[in-house]
Symmetry: D2
Subunit: 241 residues, 4 copies
């Protein structure tokens, strides 16, 4: 019943309960074009970045059939907010969506991601929640950490859309590092996404960073589109490359 | 443009921007019967408690037409979670819903409430968020503060309902205290509530408390009903009694 | 036993217990010279700023003899971090230290300050803690709020000093605003400070701000000195002007 | 320069910078005797608990010579609070201090511990900070998570002491689990501790727990002593058993 410690014989005290986990989310995203050369410093040897970058802020409810009680007995453990960046790259002759930076505000998500290879850190993340009884013209996300801005994204949903730009980047590629455990390896994830509504529109982006977050690798040349969508994500497969 | 400091000539730096504020919410609530005698110690002189108590956990998006940009430029400032208790009381010959304890997780809400007379404190509050793509059988709220549990409420929505039990308690009565400002007075609020869906069902409640939160005044004798609802709240009128 | 709500007959549930409060602190501070004209927009009518500004980050333990148990039963309620700005001003023919912006990370402090007239807001604040068994060459403070940086200050303590520059600014002047309570008035505070060690040295400052924090009023022309000190503060007197 | 992701070529964006890390701390601790049988459910096969348990709340400043700037540029990343439990056990013929539960309030610490095998989770932790200018008779620590109390410990320092009871438990034993990485193994750590002042006195303990924290395994039969100490900890050696 447990993917991680703390170990107990029942398995009920584990930080990350066993999956498979589902992730229901409302997300604010953007497809942007960045300086290719700067992206080089954020990818490992053998990974060739293109200039296509996708970023999203997501408000997420996760759930596992092995411990569904958490969703109402301790909802703070399985709900969280996330900011992620994906770079379209070439690796061993294939296109991938490589994730160099990911921020969450919840420890279950942090470690659940860490063991898969997601480069998660904690940040304070706020995301506009749309309520059916309150009109908002725009939606936004902001994240901060260590005293500085991480990123800000504002999207004005203007029209329904058929697809999410991230889906053209390829399967997901992660670089899992845990030096004290002797681990430094590539991981491939095939996501399974089922979309609710997808809307597109104008986006406004500010990317920050600081001493422990070299986000200056994202120098935005062009904003292709802003996206607002809801989706249900499952991990189709995960394997070490 | 400002209800409070910090003062600047533009008014844009105020902790609480001028209203009128609207509050769109999803709430998990319960109507409970408590020991009447214990409630006495949580109300001021002149206020006579009945044994009817209403508690709710609410996930709230607030918005003011004087500063709507906050909802997407800095969404964390106007979104928050709240736990409140209301006791049906008699005061000067009328029935009121008197609020002895209220918890939030946001400073704008804390001070916006404080100046009206709401007895707000900060707590860490988590509430089940229902996502259309993820089924949950039950919804729950938990709150903690100062190292101890404040309260926990789990509701199983079973049937649509017409009304919310709080609406039978009367107008809202607050006791506004700010000793260093020489203030100790009663305030009457007439809320204007527009409901979305209201559901009722079984509720399970645990009330905690500790050295700075005398929640032992709520000794639950009976749970009348659990409620799950969405609503849009505005303050119809507010006056000093 | 209570300065504020929540009201209970015992007084033990109040957010702010009755004082007099003492504040033991370790602080990182700087005396800076700013553009005088810009400061105009952060002070009320009748207050004339000079170009002298003092800012500090402080790690504070507060305590009241009316409720000393809080310091070990619920230490998180009485310990907090604070960032404040003071501008040397002229008001009705006297010099004052006027406080236009103040940030804390604790609700007791927020409301205890609010009722006196301190323009407090919540921020995430981190401050170097010096431990006797770990050498550090520099000490720093950072604060962030609403997705953006508020301020950062790094001081390299180089020599012992006799005095703290703030003490030459005058008594403290606050502008207490609570529009829904009909309050907009000046407050004068005479602080009583007892110093531990005071050190001075180089300081490095970055001031941020954003949509709800007009900190661009602080345009730093010169850093006079950085300060690192410990002190015990009490409020000598407080009166409405 | 990095023990974990996020990977960048400079190594500066890693959540956990390379060590060796030092930990300067002020701690409130207790040596307690618990029901041996209940402890069985919190240890893996092959580990035999005794009835001796040690718990501590610690306020910690960590530092690594590979990235000392963090201590003043971003102090929140390297300072944190921790609550840990150690059980004296027998394992393969030797005595060990086995750690079944550990809580922190910082992500760097969480993952730095996780990769070593410490069973860390996030909690909200508050600990009395003693300030030289403010007398306190007792010191306390409280921790809460997921809506419930984790633990509370109050110690009244009464006399100087020579040693810390934990040091008689043996080397540290951890059970490192990361099922998605195929890891489930024992780890032995030899701590190197240099003490500042050690004081002993009466202790008062409350242990909580809830759906994700089976702390009912700690049924306190006797409090042997409370401890208040400062120390500098380094990891002497770490090896997989």
């Amino acid at each position: 019943m447990a993917w991680t410690g703390p170990f107990t014989k029942s398995g009920k005290s584990a930080l990350v309960a066993e999956g498979p986990w589902s992730y229901a989310m409302d997300a604010i995203a953007a497809h942007i074009i960045c300086e290719r050369d700067l992206l080089e410093s954020a990818v490992p040897e053998g990974v060739k970045p293109t200039e296509d970058v996708y970023m999203y802020f997501a408000d997420i409810v996760s759930s596992s059939p092995t411990f569904p009680e958490l969703n109402y007995e301790a909802p703070g453990l399985v709900q969280y907010r996330e900011l992620a960046f994906f770079v379209k790259v070439e690796f061993r002759g294939e296109n991938y969506a490589y994730c160099p930076f990911m921020y969450v505000d919840n420890d279950v998500s942090l470690v659940r991601g860490y063991v898969a290879g997601f480069p998660k850190k904690m940040a304070v993340i706020d995301i506009t929640r749309r309520h059916p009884m309150l009109k908002v013209e725009k939606v936004g996300g902001v994240a901060m950490r260590a005293g500085y801005r991480i990123a800000k994204l504002i999207v004005k949903p203007e029209r329904d859309a058929e697809s999410n730009p991230l889906d053209n980047f390829g399967k997901w590629l992660l670089y899992r590092i845990s030096k004290p455990m002797g681990v430094a390896e590539f991981v491939e994830i095939v996501p399974e996404v089922q979309y609710g509504r997808i809307e597109k529109g104008e986006a406004k982006i500010e990317i920050g960073g600081g001493i422990n977050d070299e986000l200056e690798v994202f120098s935005v040349k062009e904003v292709v589109s802003g996206v607002h969508f809801s989706a249900l994500l499952r991990i189709g497969s995960i394997r070490k490359l």
